[in-house]
Amino acid sequence: MIEFDVRTLESGVGAVTPRGRLNMVAARQLKDILTTLSSDGVHQIVVDLAETTFVDSSGLGALIGGVKSTRQMGGDLRIVRPTEPVLAVLQITNLDKILRPRDSVELAFHE
């Protein structure tokens, strides 16, 4: 099961926190959230993975989709604080460069 927390920081950055397993069901929800943020004009997005206990290929696909669509609009999608299992999966899929983990939601766009 998954829950998503979505908010907008004072800086205008969108912050999404998935709590639980980012699997196929969750990836569909994440895609919808990212699409809504985009149509609201939010193209700088932080995904806080501190409470994401698991990610599969569809979850990764949703994140990569977000990276691509935000960059097209001059923005970016950045991840912060991945848990150990999520970090391990980013490494075996060679996604730890395009999805380089940052340290905090607030500073993800100020590094």
Partner: protein, 149 residues
């Protein structure tokens, strides 16, 4: 799994459920139950099994019933059996479905580049576990994976 390998598994779990995305979470919950019952399986092995099992199951749910007509028509008749167990040598997970044959050659699967939004599942499963076997027998698909402990 009608696989001999499951024979000597004590305390294994077997679930028959609709072949739907919603059932994926159930498999994950069964795996977590298995870890509780088998604390000797270390965290790295747990993650490897979870990754491979969830990828294989997601593929079955997504691809094995693709040309079967609408979901509404077939709801409930598309079934998937998941078998999970731990034996002395490792963790074993098996899936059996009666969908169409998987037209897939596991030996040619590679990890796509970093901008790909899909096509990563089987490569992740193969990278994660020590053994991943697909078999078509008696009109059914059998997938089984092993993670040595």
């Amino acid at each position: 799994m009608s696989d001999a390998r499951m024979g000597d598994l004590t305390g294994h779990l077997e679930l028959s459920a609709p072949a739907s995305v919603e059932s994926i979470d159930l498999t994950h919950t069964l795996l977590e139950h298995l870890w509780q019952q088998n604390p000797q399986v270390d965290p790295a092995c747990r993650l490897r099994v979870e990754t491979a099992a969830i990828e294989v199951m997601a593929n079955i749910v997504e691809h094995a019933f693709k040309h079967d007509g609408s979901l509404a028509e077939t709801r409930g008749s598309r079934r998937l059996t998941t078998t999970l167990g731990v034996h002395a040598d490792g963790v074993v997970v098996g899936f059996c479905d009666d969908g169409r044959p998987a037209e897939i050659d596991l030996s040619t699967v590679t990890m796509p580049d970093e901008t790909a939004e899909s096509g990563r599942g089987l490569a992740m499963a193969l990278a994660a576990v020590d053994e991943l076997v697909y078999d078509r027998r008696d009109g059914r698909n059998y997938w089984s994976l092993l993670c040595a402990i």
